[in-house]
Amino acid sequence: MIRYVYAHELDKHPRLVDEMFKDRARQFRDRMKWDVHVDENGWERDQYDPLGPLYIIYEREDGSHGGSGRLMPTTGRTMIGEHFSHLTDGVVISSPTIWEITRFCVSPSVRSAREAMHITTSLLLAGIDAGLRFGVEFYVAVFDEPMLRVYRSLDFAPDVMGAAGEGRKRICAGIWPCTEEVRDKMARRVAEHEQIAAAARELEFAIAA
């Protein structure tokens, strides 16, 4: 199932969160060889995690972390603006109706390609559902190039603004329109789309508890 978790509520989901930050280390440091910081707990956390982002987390039936992503508004600090503006012609993207998605990952513990695809699709749909709920018009993200094939196979190909790097380290910056049409297309691929839509509607319920 999909869970939307605000930064200030992370401590309510200790297992999911522990696995999320560890899986991020495995994904971004070990697999993609990005130069990221991993702390003494084995957690990959960066300078954006303390800025109050919204996490989308896929929880598997056994309660483990299946995958996750992180949403932030582009009117504040963003990874694409601070580290990857060479992929966007030097433009620092900033608009109240454009959000950034970062640290998108599927847990390396997910063995079957089928399940990995399901988790990816569910997370993307959850991002679109949350965006629509709040009136977001576009998402921007930086991703490694092989993901482009995955997005294409899901009929969810972004417009690529720019790309850089060679081989396994090649990365792209993309934009996706956040529309009902995209939502419906993705929802057809996810059996639990109603659970995701309901979670997006209920989104801030745990706030200020």
């Binding site: 930064a7 934009i175 209920e202 508890a209």
Partner: protein, 243 residues
């Protein structure tokens, strides 16, 4: 762009003074057919506010605003606590009103003429700037749900316009000088100002139309432009582009 947003943008240039912020709030109330509009700056940046509001315009009855301040309700109010915790807008209906103090607060507020449905949009700027725009409206859950679905994008924009307007009136951004635009943003703005169509511009810059839209929107936002013509006029006036 919605008709309502257009109606807001057309009137924005006439708001120039601190007193005009109230007229802006009234305009939002009328155009969007809501009961009340609240815009509060918690912090203009730098010093993190010390818990006092730095500036606010509120269409509530004065007695209610007074009572809210005297009772220090912001310590109890989940819309305020929520806005501090999250960057996403807050639908009041989705907040936790179960604690007794919060229940009493909303009952008392509705008694004082505050709408039973509300939406609070947090606004964050560089250097710790933090403000919120809140609207509320008396209606059923079903009407409210449709209303929000229709206006969600508008609220992101209106909140941002209000905030930029107030920064402009208080000259908060002045010492920062001109915003840094990349050569690409300047090219795109100059092409727009020359009357080229978006598809022509996208083609000549060899980027997709969505990419162009994101670049132009970023340039508009950084310039404090309300729409593209306004952004272009600011860019021309400040010498960012030459035509």
């Amino acid at each position: 762009m919605s008709e309502r947003i257009r109606a807001i943008i057309e009137r924005l240039p006439e708001f120039r003074t601190v007193e005009d912020v109230r007229r802006f709030a009234d305009l939002i109330r009328d155009v969007y057919d809501v009961d009340h509009v609240v815009y509060v700056v918690m912090s203009f940046g730098g010093d993190p506010g010390q818990g006092a509001y730095e500036f606010g315009e509120i269409t509530y009855r004065a007695e209610w605003s007074q009572r809210y301040l005297e009772e220090n309700y912001k310590e109890v109010d989940p819309t305020v606590i929520g806005a501090v915790q999250s960057f996403t807008p807050l639908d009041w209906k989705r907040l936790d009103w179960s604690p007794r103090k919060r229940r009493n607060l909303i009952l008392e507020a509705v008694d004082a003429g505050v709408g039973n449905q509300g939406y609070t949009v947090p606004i964050r700027g560089p250097n710790g700037q933090f403000a919120v725009l809140t609207i509320n409206k008396t209606c059923t859950d079903a009407v409210w749900e449709r209303y929000l679905a229709e206006t969600a994008t508008d609220w992101l924009l209106v909140a941002n316009f209000m905030h930029q307007k107030v920064l402009e009136i208080f000259s908060v951004d002045e010492e920062k000088g001109l915003p840094a635009l990349s050569p690409r943003e300047r090219d795109a703005l100059a092409m727009i100002s020359s009357g080229m169509s978006r598809s022509q511009i996208a083609e000549s810059l060899k980027i997709s139309e969505n990419t162009l839209r994101v670049y132009l929107d970023s340039a508009r936002n950084k310039l404090g432009g309300l729409n593209m013509p306004h952004a272009v006029s600011i860019a021309v006036r400040t010498g960012i582009i030459n035509i």
